[in-house]
């Protein structure tokens, strides 16, 4: 692989595009395919491009054939992202776990005493109001969003903004009772039950843990389960 191809691959990924790097295996000639471009030395037939785009949408790398020629398609999907509403104790535990699992983590909290660099030295922090921050971040099918503040002033606007997106996971910290009143408030705002059923609450797989790190583990477990078994 030429250095320019690696550099181009990196720049396409940084633009948050899903991209396939296509390699003709017998001579190593390569091309890029995305939703709206085809570029590179390797020329591809229209049918092949259609097949490759189908694979991009399924995040499915593998060998395909063009006539008898073996072509390898490596799909680089948009990165997994985790957006956390609330710079709270559970968030501190979630950040290293999610990073290890390959997620880019962003924490949103407009309360400066919570969102201090001292408490969160190594993460992207946004101090916008949650709905504004979500609008900027544009959740996609590789994004999980979890509200953690327990404060309806912060959690509710975030949920209202996230629910119409195609984020693959939406979770909200809080007991069954907290969630019941949350649902009531959101219903009153005109959100229907089917949409509201997307919210995982009480959040996380039931592991019985109570410490912040244990709750973080159960949240990440549910996120991975949703991603790998249902999304």
């Amino acid at each position: 692989m030429k250095r320019e191809i690696l550099t181009r691959l990196q720049s396409l990924r940084q633009e948050k595009q899903s991209v396939a790097l296509v390699t003709r295996l017998h001579d190593g000639i390569q091309a890029f395919v995305t939703e709206d471009l085809v570029e590179g030395e390797l020329s591809l037939m229209d049918d092949t491009i259609t097949t490759i785009r189908q694979r991009i949408s399924e995040d499915l790398s593998g060998v395909i054939f063009e006539a008898d020629i073996k072509i390898f398609v490596r799909v680089y999907s948009t990165p997994l992202r985790l957006i956390l509403i609330g710079a709270v104790h559970v968030s501190q535990a979630l950040i290293p776990m999610a990073t290890l699992l390959g997620f880019e983590v962003t924490v949103i909290d407009p309360r400066s005493s919570f969102a201090s660099d001292e408490r969160f030295p190594d993460v992207t922090m946004m101090t916008d109001w949650p709905d504004e921050a979500i609008r900027k971040l544009k959740p996609d099918p590789h994004t999980a969003v979890v509200t953690l503040t327990h404060d309806p002033k912060l959690d509710d606007p975030a949920l209202k903004e996230v629910l119409p997106t195609n984020a693959f996971y939406i979770g909200s910290l809080g007991s069954k009772r907290t969630h019941a009143s949350r649902l009531e408030r959101l219903r009153a705002e005109g959100i229907d039950d089917e949409t509201l059923s997307r919210v995982h609450a009480p959040v996380g797989l039931h592991l019985g843990g109570r410490r912040p790190a244990e709750i973080a583990l159960s949240i990440m477990a549910e996120i991975i389960q949703t991603l790998r078994l249902t999304a």
Binding site: M1, Q10, L25, Y76, T99, D122
Partner: protein
């Protein structure tokens, strides 16, 4: 930034970012990618391993079964610049050399980054 920090920050599976970083540091680098698997191979198609000419590596193509052999082959690919397809099966002696039996067969595309 040290390589350890880089890997932690970007998640353990961003092999391409590590490869780009190594190239920037002036190291000679090869990239191995799983292109096909049969049977119970431990890692999916697309899994990647980056190797330099000092036997340093990051990522994985089999969870440990055949990395040693791939790293060895990579030294040659880095030297002569020619990409090659490698095949590993349970019957393949090299799969046993490191004392692990993954089960299944793996085909790997090994290319130098130039």
């Amino acid at each position: 930034m040290s390589n350890n920090e880089l890997q932690t920050k970007q998640g353990s599976d961003d092999v391409i970012a590590i490869a780009a970083q190594w190239l920037k540091e002036g190291r000679k680098v090869a990239l191995a990618t799983v292109v096909k698997t049969w049977g119970s191979s431990p890692l999916p198609v697309g899994s990647q391993l980056v190797i330099d000419d000092n036997y340093a590596f990051a990522g994985s193509v089999s969870g440990g079964c055949i990395e040693g052999a791939v790293i060895e082959e990579a030294q040659l690919v880095i030297k002569n610049g020619e990409a090659k397809l490698l095949n590993f099966g349970v019957e393949n002696e090299r799969a046993w050399e490191v004392g692990l039996s993954c089960g299944g067969d793996i085909e790997i595309y090994l290319e130098s980054l130039m």
